[in-house]
């Protein structure tokens, strides 16, 4: 027992450290220093403080999922399993953080002097001389179809990154700067392969931790005091703690490992499904009228609790049947 608690603690701390380290490695040098010159050490605190709750929750979920639903552990030979678990957590963690934080990469003016900037939809923008937010000589090329004109030249323009536009006052034109950082956003584009999972993870973390404008302790206090978030986290824990009967179901560890991963993904996808319009439409179809907004907001939680209960009962049944077998033997 002591050993298990110790292992969990080590995992917990290791993963938290990995995530925090990744935050530093991944965001501050790239999106801080490089993108916004002059942004230095104070940003470290801001970023870490802002994202510790997410890191803690994600770490806890991964640890519980993988350790409670243990696959095959031999005392004294844990290295390989640990490596795999760490690698998996590392990948999921980075991907999740990437998805959450990349929007922060917004300097005052992302356009570079004497450079072409490819924009979404096949347009390109040339900025000749950049001075702060002001740009001297702007050339915009629009999409052509069978002979339409493409280039438009302007004397000057001004970048407004709050609205993500380049304003050309002489002609009253606003050019959307999309992607927000035409060169670097492309280089560090999100890996679209993960979008199907990262969306639900982000959605869950958002629901569990609330708005990210305040500091860590305020937010921790706030979500622990809010029933919704408390019950949401609790349902996640129950699901994780009771799902390992499924994970250790057969004698093929690889199969069990795959089920573990699928369950982990399934948990977030289930939550996303509970929040989706699909479920609301289904309820509308069944009930014949729209449910109230308050009930709607509690739908994901109710759904999670329903599945928690099913898992809890299954777990209890499995537990008691195994006791009966033992007694009969």
């Amino acid at each position: 027992m002591k050993e298990t608690v110790g292992t969990i603690l080590v995992f917990f701390l290791a993963l938290t450290a990995v995530f925090c380290g990744l935050l530093l490695l991944y965001f501050l040098p790239l999106y801080g220093d490089f993108f916004v010159p002059g942004l230095g050490a104070p940003a470290v605190g801001i970023y870490l403080r802002g994202y510790i709750p997410e890191v803690l929750i994600l770490t806890t979920i991964i640890c519980l999922f993988l350790l409670f639903g243990r696959l095959k552990r031999k005392p004294g030979k844990p290295f390989f399993s640990y490596t795999l678990i760490l690698a998996g957590s590392f990948i999921i963690g980075v991907a999740a953080l990437d998805f959450e934080l990349i929007d922060y990469a917004e300097p005052e003016n992302p356009l570079l002097s004497e450079s072409m900037h490819p924009l979404t939809g096949g347009d390109q923008l040339y900025a000749h001389a950049v001075d702060g937010v002001r740009i001297e000589t702007v050339v915009l090329s629009g999409r052509n179809t069978l002979g339409e004109r493409r280039f438009q030249a302007f004397d000057s323009g001004e970048v407004d990154m709050r609205r993500r536009v380049l304003e050309i006052s002489e002609k009253g034109i606003t050019v959307p700067i999309e992607p927000p950082n035409p060169f670097f956003s492309r280089m560090f584009a999100r890996n679209r392969s993960f979008a199907w999972l990262l969306g639900p993870i982000g959605s869950f973390l958002g629901a569990a931790t609330g708005d990210s404008s305040s500091g860590t302790f305020t937010r921790l206090r706030r979500w622990s005091g809010t029933e919704y978030r408390y019950f949401l986290i609790a349902s996640a824990f129950i699901l994780i703690l009771t799902s390992h009967w499924l994970i250790r179901r057969n004698d093929w560890p690889l199969g069990n490992a795959v089920i573990t991963v699928l369950l982990f993904c399934g948990f977030f996808l289930l939550f996303a499904l509970m929040r989706s319009q699909l479920l609301k439409d289904f309820l509308f179809l069944v009930a014949g009228r729209r449910i109230t907004e308050r009930i709607e907001s509690f739908l994901p939680l109710l759904g999670m609790w329903y599945f928690s209960l099913v898992f809890l009962l299954s777990r209890g049944k499995a537990y008691f049947s195994s006791r009966r077998i033992q007694r009969s033997l």
Partner: protein, 573 residues
């Protein structure tokens, strides 16, 4: 002869697993491509090619997870099938097999992926182009411009022959176009070039020229040039003309003289045009004469000469016409040239290429002053419907081989200050690399390795950043290492999580199709982390440092993967 108990070499068994996995994956991707065929975006005509190309592309893209899954499942369910009892001897063979597979995977990935991507994108572009032709054809029909409508509808029909629904409209347009063309020809007056304007010489200069010919006893030329000078009102020209006429009358009969003279006069007009480098007019002039006098060797000679000269300054629409049926590469945008005085942009609507011929459609040129009092002003802005690559430049003068009325020339756009238009624009990029300057230049899906290497220097010279190029190069260099590392690690995982006992239920096998999916995401995560790290070093320190880090990282990871695999194989019971 082998004894029944002698083990089959591990390599052969791994090869059979590899081939089986590749075959199954290809069939799955074939069906997936078939069921997801975008009917609205791609003509049904391309279904077969599209499905095969897409399945092959997906097979290459997912080859790493497919093979990792295959080896992992095989080693997990039946380790003894691949690893015989003499484990030490088999390790070398297995490792060699994995290295060979890595080599082939990298080779096919690098060679085939850009080609397949280009093929798929060309099918999409061909469909888009044809639909645009159809739309344009219907628009022109509604505007009652039937010849133009017929051209567009014919183009559409030849690009999508199975669509017979267009035939009634095509037939109607054809008959209306013929009627319209006949009516126009009847109205057009026949014009003859004004020689006086053609020569561009003053009356005095023409008289001097006539005197020269007189001294050389070339009375026909003397008569001809003095006649023009006389028409321009130069008194002395009449004297030379009369003298030359007298000499001509002494040598040839009158009626024949008139006939020969008329022909000669027209030949001279053409020669003057050639002499004054007005090759296009000269070409059409001799073309007209050759129709009237098909057996005249002089006319044929001058027609050939003017044809040759025309190719220096223009190209024929008939040559590009056939290319318009092909999809080509669309939307190229290029900061073409930077001098101390101006910057020049070129946009190319469509780029067509053959083995030796290169054509452009919808070319636009914008030049902006970058110094002096007019800094930031538009110096010139024009467009041309067609262009041809000749002698390092894009020639923008397109004419018809047979009809002088058909000309596609550069024209000023509304914000251009005017002035003489360029007949040709030098291309600032080697022609074979111009395809890299698409509307989305940082997407390298269709770019080969050697092109990428060239872009390191070319991109910064043309207003683009080369860091994404370096990042892409590192990613490609990472592929073989990652392939080998992943194969070894997932094979080790298979051995680690091998089947216990003999009670694996049938239902458990249903999980197998999910394994490549899970592995795909794990590999993607691994690759994106490695890439992010290397991109960061490329941006902060440079390509050299990133290369060192890359080599060190791959070395460590490969060593780790090999060590883990050997350990797992040796411990296999």
């Amino acid at each position: 002869m082998k004894s029944p108990s002698s083990p089959t070499p591990s390599g052969k068994r791994l090869l059979s697993i590899t081939l089986l996995a590749v075959f199954i994956a290809f069939v799955v991707f074939l069906f997936h491509a078939l069921f997801t065929f975008p009917r609205g975006d791609i003509f049904a005509l391309y279904t077969g090619k599209w499905v095969i190309a897409l399945a092959a592309l997906r097979l290459l893209r997912f080859l790493m997870p497919v093979l990792c899954s295959a080896y992992m499942v095989a080693l997990s369910l039946k380790p003894g099938y691949i690893i015989p009892k003499e484990r030490e001897r088999s390790i070398g063979k297995i490792l060699l097999f994995f290295i060979v597979i890595t080599f082939f995977a990298t080779f096919f990935n690098e060679i085939s992926t850009p080609l397949l991507n280009r093929r798929i994108s060309s099918m999409r572009t061909a469909t888009e182009t044809a639909l645009e032709f159809k739309e344009k054809g219907i628009e022109e029909y509604e505007r009652e411009n039937y010849p133009e409508a017929l051209t567009y509808l014919n183009l559409y029909s030849s690009m999508n022959p199975p669509d017979t629904s267009i035939q009634p409209l095509l037939d109607t347009t054809q008959s209306k176009a013929q009627r319209q063309l006949t009516a126009v020809r009847e109205e057009e007056p026949r014009t003859r070039p004004d020689v006086r304007r053609v020569t561009g010489m003053t009356a005095e200069e023409l008289t001097e020229l006539a005197e020269d010919y007189l001294e050389r006893e070339d009375y026909r030329s003397a008569y001809y040039y003095s006649g023009i000078a006389e028409q321009l009102g130069y008194g002395d020209a009449a004297r030379i003309k009369n003298f030359a006429a007298g000499k001509l009358a002494d040598t040839e009969p009158e009626k024949e003289i008139r006939e020969i003279w008329s022909l000669y006069e027209r030949e001279q007009e053409g020669r003057s045009l050639l002499e004054f480098e007005r090759y296009i007019e000269a070409y059409y002039h001799f073309l007209n004469l050759s129709i009237r006098y098909p057996s005249d060797p002089d006319i044929q000679k001058y027609l050939a000469e003017s044809g040759e000269r025309v190719r220096e300054v223009a190209f024929f629409y008939e040559d590009i016409e056939t290319y318009l049926l092909h999809p080509g590469t669309r939307d190229l945008i290029l900061l073409n040239r930077r001098t101390g005085e101006y910057i020049e942009f070129i946009s190319i609507g469509t780029f067509f290429r053959d083995t030796k011929t290169y054509f452009f459609e919808n070319v636009e040129v914008l030049r902006i002053a970058t110094s002096g009092g007019n800094k930031g002003d538009v110096l010139i802005h024009f467009s041309a419907p067609y262009g041809k690559f000749q002698n390092g430049s894009i020639n923008l003068t397109c004419i018809s081989r047979s009809d002088p009325q058909v000309r596609f020339l550069p024209r000023h756009l509304s914000d251009s200050p005017g002035g003489p238009l360029d007949n040709a624009v030098p291309l600032g990029v080697p022609l074979e690399r111009v395809l890299g300057f698409t509307a989305n230049p940082y997407s390298f899906e269709e770019t080969g390795l050697f092109e990428l290497i060239d872009f390191i220097d070319l991109f910064p010279a043309h207003g683009l950043r080369n860091e994404p190029v370096m990042s892409e190069l590192l990613s490609r260099a990472m592929y073989p290492f990652s392939f080998l590392i992943m194969v070894l690690l997932f094979s080790s995982t298979g051995l680690h999580w091998k089947r216990r006992g003999y009670t694996v239920s049938f239902l458990s096998y249903l999980i197998i199709p999910m394994i490549p999916v899970v592995i795909f995401f794990l590999i993607q995560g691994f690759l994106s982390i490695e890439k992010s790290l290397l991109d960061f070093i490329v941006l902060k320190v440079g390509i050299l440092a990133a290369s060192f880090v890359f080599l060190a990282l791959q070395g460590i990871l490969t060593f780790f993967a090999v060590a883990v695999f050997i350990r797992k194989v040796l411990k296999e019971r």
